[in-house]
């Protein structure tokens, strides 16, 4: 077999791939939502001033960041049943990918918060502001704009990592392409289309994130 692109086949499989793209987007969105919230908890847990907790959370974040996501996905999916907890592929996939990216996002938040000058904390103290208001009204609004680039990178990153969910049978884009390949013995069109779809989504998203960052900065008058 040599290089021969079949357009009729392409048009045949495109609807199936686009439908699967929706699943990919849902997976990325749900995983990202989990990561955003969990990441904030991990970041704030390191700022409680309680040393034991700080060290434990730091080590946990390091561990998650230095081990492969695909292995974490297998771990979450297969270890549950060993102890009588059965998780669906979707649930385990979202837990694994959300947890993985929460470690990265906690670092983004942490860097953002640490970049706010010390004088801002002192000014809040001088007008007697509560810790809660200090975070919500003064620190986080300033920590946000420099964090947007990092947060955006990981949004694109989580999107590009969703194909790994195919290994436990989540019916996303890669899983569908594999299925088409094994039904038709044609790999050229499905795998190439998957690549094109990923490009078509991730490149504009990266651009939009840059625009959004500029907009937030202007909005906050920074």
């Amino acid at each position: 077999m040599s290089f021969n692109w079949r357009w009729d086949f392409t048009w045949d499989i495109l609807p199936r791939l686009l439908a699967a793209t929706l699943n990919t987007l849902i997976a990325a969105g749900a995983g990202y939502a989990i990561a955003l919230v969990l990441g904030l908890i991990l970041a704030l847990a390191q700022r409680t001033g309680w040393r034991g907790l700080t060290v434990a959370v730091r080590e946990f974040v390091e561990f998650i960041r230095s081990t492969p996501l695909v292995l974490q996905i297998f771990f979450v999916f297969y270890v549950g049943p060993q102890f009588g907890i059965r998780l669906s592929p979707w649930t385990s996939g979202m837990i694994a990918i959300g947890l993985h990216y929460s470690a990265y996002l906690s670092e983004v938040y942490r860097a953002g918060i640490e970049a706010v000058p010390k004088g801002q904390w002192e000014a809040c103290r001088a007008i007697n502001m509560s810790t809660r208001d200090t975070y919500l009204r003064i620190i986080i609004p300033q920590a946000l704009p420099p964090s947007i680039a990092g947060m955006g990178n990981y949004l694109v990153g989580i999107f590009k990592d969703t194909p790994m969910l195919s290994v436990i049978g989540v019916a996303e884009l890669m899983h569908t392409a594999n299925a088409i390949g094994s039904e038709s013995y044609r790999f050229l069109e499905p795998y190439t289309l998957v690549g094109v779809i990923f490009l078509a989504i991730s490149l504009p998203t990266a651009g939009l994130i840059r625009l959004f960052e500029g907009w937030v900065r202007r909005k906050l008058g920074l």
Partner: protein, 270 residues
């Protein structure tokens, strides 16, 4: 530490606005302030001068509770600031107690520390609305009055990044005053300013001294200004008050050698 030497509250008749009682501050082995005793009466303007590293900024930061103290007690308006009464003795203050006491103290910083994402007016309204619980209308009226006083009312809708250093510092003074503190602290408020705008900030402070009955403590490098407006000047050296007195005496006829050396070195530099 034995706390029995420290009263739970200062007695009527012996109640300066601020009292430092044997206050000690150290970082590891480095002693920044050594057994400091200092009273400031109500309405008094006290300037703190001295070489860098003499502990003068630490005095202000402790009063604002930005630094913890290692020994002694600070009293504000008769009540302990750093400690609270519990079971008939003084124990280190908790956050709730500190917040209540902190309300009577305001501070302006060398680098202004305005909130960059808020306009001048929003900076002034933030504390009154969020901390004192004033209505927006009340806070706005109070803030606009103060911005007028510091001559910044026409810039009230500008963000700090659009203001010069002198303008930012005047807004910062208004922001601190909007909390209606009993004691105002000025920490080298002109040190980060270009020479030509120092006057607009010192004029505001001058106005506060003549028109308001505020208790003020100011760390400064501007000897002429300190001499002009202070009721008393304290010369700090090596974590201690080396010499203090009315400005004309301290500047005109210093008694201690270190004071003389410092004043002549500063004069040479001018």
């Amino acid at each position: 530490m034995d706390m029995s030497a420290y009263p739970l509250e200062l007695p009527e008749g012996d109640r300066p606005m601020v009292r430092f009682m044997n206050v000690t501050k150290s970082y590891g082995k480095l002693v920044v302030l050594d057994q400091l005793n200092l009273d400031i009466s109500e309405g008094e303007m006290v300037s703190v001068i001295g070489p860098s590293g003499s502990g003068k900024t630490t005095v202000l930061r402790m009063l604002m509770t930005l630094e913890t103290i290692n020994g002694g007690v600070i009293y504000v308006d008769g009540k302990p600031l750093t400690h609270m009464p519990k079971n008939g003795t003084l124990v280190p203050a908790d956050e709730k107690y500190l917040r209540r006491m902190r309300a009577s103290i305001g501070m302006c910083f060398q680098h202004f520390n305005l909130f960059p994402h808020m306009t001048a007016l929003q900076n002034c309204m933030e504390g009154p609305v969020q901390v004192l619980g004033l209505s927006k209308a009340e806070a706005r009226a109070r803030s606009e009055e103060l911005l007028t006083m510091v001559g910044m009312i026409d810039k009230k809708d500008q963000h700090p990044s659009r203001l010069s250093g002198g303008q930012q510092q005047r807004v910062a003074i208004a922001r601190a005053l909007a909390m209606r503190p009993k004691v105002m602290l000025f920490d080298e408020v002109t040190s980060a300013l270009d020479p030509e705008v120092i006057g607009e900030v010192t004029n505001v402070i001058r106005k506060l001294v003549t028109e308001h009955n505020l208790t003020m403590l100011m760390v400064t490098h501007q000897m002429g200004f300190a001499r002009d407006i202070s009721d008393r000047v304290c010369f700090f050296f090596g974590g201690k008050i080396e010499e203090q007195g009315p400005p004309d005496e301290l500047f005109g006829n210093p008694q201690r050698d270190r004071t003389k050396q410092f004043l002549s070195a500063v004069k040479d530099a001018d």
